[in-house]
Symmetry: C2
């Protein structure tokens, strides 16, 4: 007879329901594959009345989280309530009771990962978190195991489906940001309050999780420079295309020996690169390992069943390890190297500048003088057709320059009387 692993799920929302659905409906296949019975013993949620369209027969469905935390027969606690404070408390209490954890909570890990992993190590339990980044795409397992023999030189992630859905629609159908956001909200691809997605915070949380794993240092999302996509216009899309680029909200991590360059911002990337083909709500992480070279993982970054797929894989992973007491193998790895995060002002990259001028005489000479004075050289320049009011848009692509120099130049250019306020600075990756 197969050994039984008891699971407690805290939070029966969308992902919780999907997780329960797989564990209940595919129980037979899972047992056949891993020779273990993984059983949901208890589910906790504040709402125990709404019909989730799954058969919860035999499962203790309760409002009281202690029914999981204080139940010594429960091996694995699956935290799917999200948010910080309560989730953190429930996870810590469960760890102290010797329970293993599966969570999708990137916000929690991005702020308190180190504390939780240290507590887990002390209590000899595992925290698995595949669903926290990229939905069902196995990016966490790939970083931890599949590419274990590599140093990760760089990572570029499109890891927020909402932002990518909006940018893709702007790019493909020439629709303005506000219109696409509204559509995305109507279709359920964006929240009523979309701030976390469109301002890049969610992407920064996920970048903190994967860069902690890839580089073995505890990255907190607050340390990551973060810009959103609300300033992008269809005009930027148009000129990006003319210059053979696509605009994507990227999570970027680059390792330079003992320093690490971490940032989240809308970025121009080559239009014909495979990463640029990641459209609509899809996610992708493109990375380079010192041995393996470039690898890309692509798939649905969110949604009930893709995310539940990752949660269940995590549960199965722990279940297999419980039966053989391999817990120490999952120790969180912190590098002994003293790796520092590079401050944003020291970044060196190419830039895209878009500005509107009121009239034309001397404009170009004055702007290019300011750039030159700051040591910035121009790679290409497009001045668009003059509008009825005499204004024109200028697009400048620079050669690689230092962020600090660009910010100084931008400050000076903005002071010019003939430059309008809608100045946009984007960074470029080749």
């Amino acid at each position: 007879m197969s050994k039984i692993i008891n699971v407690g799920i805290i939070g029966l929302g969308i992902v919780g329901t999907g997780t329960a659905k797989i564990l209940i409906e595919q129980a037979k296949t899972i047992t056949e594959k891993i020779n273990l019975k993984v059983v949901i013993k208890t589910i906790v949620d504040l709402d125990i009345t709404t019909d989730r369209k799954i058969n919860l027969k035999g499962i203790n469905f309760t409002k009281n989280v202690d029914d999981i935390i204080l139940d010594d027969s429960i091996d694995i606690v699956v935290e799917l309530i999200g948010g910080i404070n309560l989730a953190k408390k429930f996870i810590k209490d469960s760890i102290k009771k010797g329970k293993h954890i599966v969570t999708a909570n990137k916000a929690l890990l991005a702020s308190f990962g180190k504390e939780l992993f240290e507590l887990a190590e002390k209590n000899n339990v595992i925290i698995n978190f595949e669903a926290s980044v990229g939905g069902g795409i196995p990016i966490i397992k790939t970083l931890k195991e599949g590419l274990v023999s590599n140093s990760i030189l760089s990572m570029y992630g499109i890891i927020n489906g909402t932002a990518n859905y909006i940018l893709t629609n702007m790019s493909k159908y020439n629709k303005p940001f506000d219109e696409v956001l509204k559509e995305a909200q109507d279709k359920g691809f964006a929240e009523a309050d979309p701030t976390f997605d469109i301002e890049g915070n969610d992407t920064a949380h996920k970048l903190a999780v994967i860069s902690t794993l890839a580089y073995g240092i505890p990255v907190v999302s607050d340390e990551i420079h973060c810009e959103g996509i609300t300033q992008i216009t269809t005009l930027d899309m148009k000129y990006a295309h003319i210059l053979n680029y696509e605009i994507k909200l990227l999570a970027i991590a680059k390792s330079h020996n003992k320093t690490l360059d971490l940032r989240v911002h809308p970025t121009l990337i080559p239009k014909d690169s495979i990463l640029a083909q990641t459209s609509f709500e899809n996610n992708a992480v493109y990375l380079e390992g010192d041995n393996v070279g470039p690898v890309m993982l692509y798939g649905k970054g969110a949604g009930m069943m893709p995310t539940a797929s990752a949660v269940v894989s995590d549960i199965i992973d722990i279940s297999k390890k419980i039966t053989s007491k391999v817990l120490n193998l999952n120790k969180y790895y912190y590098s002994k190297k003293a790796i520092k995060i590079i401050p944003m002002f020291a970044l060196k990259t190419k830039y895209y500048l878009r500005l509107t001028t009121k009239d034309k005489p001397y404009v170009l000479s004055k702007i290019s003088k300011i750039l030159g004075d700051n040591g910035i050289s121009i790679d290409s320049l497009i001045q668009t057709e003059t509008k009825e009011d005499g204004s024109a848009v200028i697009i400048i692509m620079t050669h690689p320059a230092i962020e600090k120099a660009i910010m100084n130049a931008v400050k000076s250019i903005k002071k010019l009387s003939f430059v309008k306020k809608d100045f946009l600075t984007l960074r470029v990756e080749e």
Copy 2:
């Protein structure tokens, strides 16, 4: 002090040298990451004189394979000599001595996988084979673990770098097959005898390995219908593009309840699909899981360091399991379902037909009558400009049809006096 795992490498060719290079030069980082020392004790090769530009100090470098197989202190045997007979013997002898195996040998696994896995299970040892498909891309681990909570509905793989390099060059630069093959051989992207790569055999071996894993049935590569790319011309590339397709050599696996559709052939796939962006020597596997939806893994499918990266990940995976005696967890999974492979004649898909006719009158009516008589309806048809000799090329895209009907129709069309011999039939996937 860290526990020591002793490794023996059989075959110090390209991948063997890369593997040794990582284990020797990155020993410190690996120990730091996994808290184990992985040490190469012995390397066996017939050539022990050529300088591999790595420091083999302290390693027993010998011509005698018994120095590995009969050495009780060696935990893991890495087989990298390729070929069938000797590799099989060395692996079986090692298994019987209780040694774990890492191999990149798809040809061996595609014919004798079941025998080897059963022997390994009996002797309670692991066989890892990540490097056998897709070089350093962690497709095997993803199928075994990352997507364990999914049934795989379909897989589409571009898993032969040589064939993809040739097709990409034909597609992008309008160069004929022979010219590109010659270039690929000069650059080292194709072997002097390229048969296995361009005729699809290597792709079929790899498909056997991944479909065995994904569907839990022992697939032997001989059971897989296999067509190569030698009939593809730049004209086909041109018309594929006009019809918005790209031509790729695909490994295809599709599950329909209790049947499985397995095949390797050049295939028209939508030009704007992300799989079609896999260019030159790169590999990709695009699959659909019932829960996770579509997932794609992309990267370098071959080469010294990418393949060595996978071999070392496999060694580390086993090393971690040895120290905790979790060997039974890696049991090879065979489904209890009786899954049958669908015979090729029963396949239903869309087809691309390309034929040359000597003159025009009645041609179209006769051809379309034959197609109609076989129950095949035409989706689109292009008749190209007539050449000086009065001949013209006709491209026909069909609606979904049964392979058997297509083959019957093709046979009849070929008998028509005005149809030249260079008839090409390709299959289409949407």
